[in-house]
Each structure stands twice: as structure tokens, then as C-alpha cells.
Symmetry: C2
Amino acid sequence: MREPGKPRRSPAPEERQADADRTRRVLLAAAYEEFAEKGYAGARVHEIAARANVNKQLINYYFGGKEGLYRTLQSQWLKHEATFHDPGRSAADVAESYLHDGLDDPRGTRLMVWRGLSYAEGQETPDEEPVQDLSGIVARQQTGELDSGLDPACLLIGMMAMTTAPHVMPDMVKKAFGVEASDPEFRERYTAFVRDMVSRLGPRP
Amino acid sequence: MREPGKPRRSPAPEERQADADRTRRVLLAAAYEEFAEKGYAGARVHEIAARANVNKQLINYYFGGKEGLYRTLQSQWLKHEATFHDPGRSAADVAESYLHDGLDDPRGTRLMVWRGLSYAEGQETPDEEPVQDLSGIVARQQTGELDSGLDPACLLIGMMAMTTAPHVMPDMVKKAFGVEASDPEFRERYTAFVRDMVSRLGPRP
DNA sequence: AACGGTGTCAACCAAATAGTTGACTGATAC
DNA sequence: GTATCAGTCAACTATTTGGTTGACACCGTT
């Protein structure tokens, strides 16, 4: 990208390290976009480099290649786990905000779904916590907000399924609602449904 | 694959057409596997040809290339639409069989999810029916099996979300249940949950 | 001032990949 | 019997793609 004759801008004294960190960050940000959009197989390293306005060799330099970059991205996004652990807010509110977060910025969800499809059974889960935190659900069962007769693990999967659905089957949404998943009309109708749904998960009369 | 000297087996009289059809079929079957497993970008045409035990050129000959093959496959699998239209069986039974069909053979679901991720908003939906059949849901609302206060389109999406969840987030399943999504224990617990869930969608007392 | 290290890049390379070419086989039509 | 056509394939090609090489600029240290 740099013009032939023009010498590169000089990295200021203590800016050196900052530049390296900055490069890592912009690369990760670009990778986030590219991988969320096209998945691992569809993503292109030169495209990531272009989005980051950086030479593609730096992907190898800092992350050891496409796969290293992908792994780094994944492990970084593991923190973003959904646990419904948010005392003070109702389950319906938490579900709604999960849904809205996903509708406002589908990238995280898409990344998760791409990963799910590429998931191979029996693969080693190296360092990442091998157990899902269900305490947020269980706590709500104890307070009677959710029916304690229901399986907590199922509850979590079910709730997550509802919030990811618009990204998993956007075409079915389009055909069933007549509008895209990003349309306010869908948002409104589906939000109401999710809240209603959650309210039905309380203890049975 | 054929040995050098050995002449090819002669196509019998009326077998000619049958051979062409057969080639198309084995290619589509192989493509179904390959695309379901790796998605469009990850699939390899030489791999599809190998699975079909056929020269890869035939993919171009019969389908006009990788994309043509993919399109043909998609349009063929459109019939498999889920509509909950099955009078005589309860909604819980239908949901359960959707779930079990998916667990027994994930390929159709995976294909759908891959497609969902590749879905670009605003793209033309060429010939395929642009409206989702909701009559199966509405009918169940009229008989009082499902709450008629609920949005039919939402009901469909929600139900489908539940049945596809195991394939969309197999890693979360693994972490939440401690077993793979293919494990009988998961199947049992999750089936019970889905049935319970559906039973809660009836009219409120 | 020479040296070594870090951050960066342009140019190159090898493998993979989708697609093309030209040939061959046998059956049917003329 | 010759021409034509459908079906098939091995070998080839152009392009894409992830990755490597070698260089260079700038800084701090000796």
C-alpha cells in the first residue's frame, strides 16, 4: 500500500510495542468480520489483511497462519458465553437482550454457528472449560422463576436456540414473515414471542 | 480408476439412458454428503467425484460445475420443508419426529444451516415458493392444540429452532450435558424437554 | 559508529482447485 | 459401413490461495 519512493512513517520511541499490539488488534478485528461472514473455509487471508490495511504476511508473523488466527479469535470469544446468570433481571429480559444483541450484531452468533457446523465429535477440548455454567438457570429455578421440573441444560440450549434462530434460518424467516430478519417488524413480533415463551417456562399451576 | 489396457464395460442397449441418470443420482448423493459435511466453500469437487466413483469432469458435464451441482441439490431438497402439517398426530409427536429425524441423520439440517449462513439478504428467491406454509400451525391453533394468541410464524421458527439446536451448537450441548449430541442420554433428556415445551404452548388456563 | 532486534512489506513460490480439452467407446441412424 | 451422438475419462491449464523469502527502516545497545 505504501508509495514506492516515500519512506515509511517512522515508529516513534515507545510507539514500537504499541504498533505491534495495534497490528494484532486490527488483524483480529478484521478476522472477526471475515470469519463471521464467510466461515473458516470461505474466509481469505488476503481479504483479512486488506480489511486490516496491513500486509498479509503479518498474519503469519503474529498468528502463525490462517488457522492460528482463527484459533486465537475463537479462544478470545469464549468469554462471551451465555449463562443467564444475571440476578436482578428477569429471564425474559435476559433472553430479550441476548436476542437483540444478536440482531444488532450477528457476527458473534454467526461465528458460533460456523464453529458448530465444523465441530467434530470426540475432538479434544484443550484448555477451554469443559463444563457449561448452568448456575444462572438453576438459580432461577430455585427462586421459582423457572420450573424446576425442567432440565437446566435443556433450558439453556432451548433458550439459546430461540435467540440464534433468526441467523440460522434467515430464509425461513423471510418466507414465514415476509420480511428479512433484520426488519423491525420481525424483531417486534419475535421478541414478543420469546418473552411469552419464557413466561410459559415457569412452574405449572 | 479404470486399468489401462482393460476396455471399459460396454453399456448395454437400453442401459445408456439409465447410466446417465444413475451418474446424476450418484453425483447428487455424493454432493449431499460432501456439502452437508463441509458446506459450499469447504466442499471439494474432486472429493465429490471420488465419493461417487466417477470422473470429476462429469460434474461439469451434467451440472455445469460446482455451483450448478449445489443449486440442483438445494432445489431438490426444498420439498423437505417442515410445516407441522400432519393431522392425526399431535404437535408434540411431530416435533419429536422432526427432532429424531435430525438426530438420526443430520445431513438435511446441516445443509439448511450452511445455507442459512450463506444467505444474503435481499437476494432474489428465483422460483421457489416465496411464502412459508403456516397452515399446519394455524390449523392446530384452531383446534385449540396451540394457543391462538401466539404468532404462527414465530411458532414455526421457534419449533424449528428447538429441533435444529443440537446441530447448531454441538459444543454447547457437549459442555452442558457432558455427552455428545448423538448420545442416547442427550436424545432422551432433550426429547422430553421438547415435548414438555410444546405442551406449554397450548391455550393458557 | 557498528550491531542486533523488531515491525513491516513486496515479490515470489508451491500446492490446491475448479474447470477445459481432446480422445475413446459403443450404440444407433442413415 | 460410415456418420453421429451420448457417456466417460485422463491429462492439462489457469487461477486462487496460504505461506515463504529477503530486504529495509528504525530503534536501543554496545
